[in-house]
Amino acid sequence: MSPQTQNTGPAVNEYEREPVPASAQKGWRSFLGMYAGEHTAGTEFVIGPLFVAHGVGAFDFFSGLILGNILAVLSWGLMTAPIATSKRMTLYYQLERICGYKMVSIYNVVNALMFCFLAGSMIAVSATAVGIPFNLTMPTLTTWLPTSLGWVLVVLVIGFLTTLVAIKGYNQVARFANVAAPWMILIFLSAALAILPELGVTRFSEFWAVANKVIWTGIPLEGVSKFSFWHVLFFAWFCNMAMHIGMSDLTILRYAKSWKYGFLSFSGMFIGHFIAWISSGILYAAFLQSSNFSTEFAPGPIAYGAAGLAGAVCVVVAGWSTANPTIYRAGLALQGVFPKMKTWKVTAWVGAVTSIAACFPALVMKLLDFVALYGLVLMPMGAVIFADFYLSPRFGITQEMAYNRNISFSNATFFTWLITLAICLGLNLGFGIDIFFLGLPGWFIAVFTFLILSNTLYPKGKEALV
C-alpha cells in the first residue's frame, strides 16, 4: 500500500477549484505506471512479513490476496473513477462543495495526522537498514518503544533529512522515485528468488509444498494473533480504502481520459500488493529459519541477508521515497487549514511530528492495524461523496449541498462521520469485530446516516434546520 506518492505532487495543485479540461487529461500509460510505482513502496517490506508472523496459511494467503486485490481494483474502477471523470475535481474541492470549507479543514487535519504516522513508520523502516553498519539493536515484534539512544538518533537524522528534502526539493524526489520504481520491483522479486533454495525450493514444482510447510504455515509466531483468509481478503481490499472507497484518488483520476482507467490500478495491486507481499513474506520466512525463529523484526537486515547491499539500499529507498511525498502531502493538507503560515514552516512542523512518531517501532509492528484504521477513519467522507453523487437526487436531497445552499459547515456530514466511527468503535469494543472487517458495514452505515441526516437537517426547498 501507499499513500498518494510519485507523480502526484505539484501537478495536483493545478485546476484545484475547477474541472480538469480535456486538454490536460492523460492517457492510460500514465496511470498504469503510476499505480505500479505507487504501490511498490516501503510498506511492502513490512506487510508481507507480518502476514507470515500472523500465521496465515498458504492457500488462505494466495486466495485472500487474489480476491481482495480484485475487489480493490473493482472499487477503483466502479466507485472512484466514474465520479472522478464525471466531476473532474480534487477530493478536497468536491468535499468542500458537499460539506462546506470548515468541515474540509477538520478532514485535512485528520488526514495530515494519518499521513504523519504513515511517513513515520517508513522512516522507522529505513532506519532498520541505515542502522546495519552501526550495529543498532533492532526492534522485535513486541517492541513498541525506542530500542536505544542510537535508534532514536538514526531515526531523527533520517527524519530531518527527509523533511529537509520535502521542503527544498519535492520535484527531484518525485523524479528519483520514478527512477527507483522499476529497480525496486526487480529487487523484491530477485531477493525472494535467490533465497528460495535456502528454504528447500530448487524447482518451481516444490514451491507449494514448501510454502505450506515453511513460509505460510498457518501457525502464528508466539504472542501474535492468528490471521485467516478473511483477514487477508479484507486487508488487501481495504488497505487502500482511503484512496478508492474513501475517494482520495479523485484527485488523481480526474485527469483520466476514461473512467475505465480506474481498472489500471490492477498494476499496483498485482505487482506491489501481490508479488511484493509474497516476496517479502518469503524473505522473512528465510530469516526466521536462519535465526531460529528470532522475534527481531527489521526489514533492513532481512533484505540485506537476501540481496546484500542492493537489498539494504532498496529498503532505504523504498522507505524514504514513500515517507518524503507523504510528509509533503501532509504539509499541503495542513496548509489548507493554516493558509497564512509559510509552506516550509508547515512542512517542518509535520516533519518534526513524523520524526518523533518514527522513534516508536510500534508504528511498524502495528502497521496492519494502523493502515486499516487509516482507511476506516477517512472512509465515511468517501461514502458521503458516493451518496451525494448517486443517491441524493433519488432521495430528494440537494446535490453538493454546501455549494448550492451556501453552507460552510454541514452538520449532516459531520455527524455522519462521528456516528459511523462511533458505531464502528462499538462493534470493535463491544462485539470484538476486528478492525479489518469494519470498513464494509461502516460504509453502509455512513451512506444510510448521511441520507437520513441530510433529509432531516436540510429538507429540500426549506431553510436548513440547524
Binding site: L193, P197, A310
Partner: protein
C-alpha cells in the same frame, strides 16, 4: 550517447534479476549474486536518471 545510457541501464536491471535466477538454478553462489546485484544497482542509478524522466515526460505529452 542516450542509447548507450539506456543500454547500460538495462544491463543494470538485468544484473539485478538474472543472477538470482542463476542462484535459484544452483549455477552461482549467493555471494556472487549479491555482488552482481550491487553492480547492477550502481549501473541503474548511475545512468537511468539521465533518460527515464525525460522519457516519462515525453510519454505523458504523447498521451495527451
Amino acid at each position: 550517447m542516450k542509447i548507450l545510457l539506456i543500454i547500460i541501464s538495462y544491463i543494470g536491471l538485468a544484473l539485478s534479476i538474472i543472477p538470482s535466477v542463476l542462484v535459484f538454478l544452483g549455477k552461482i553462489s549467493m555471494q556472487t549474486n549479491t555482488t552482481l546485484m550491487a553492480v547492477g544497482m550502481v549501473l541503474w542509478f548511475g545512468t537511468a536518471p539521465f533518460w527515464i524522466n525525460k522519457k516519462t515526460d515525453k510519454d505523458n505529452a504523447s498521451d495527451n
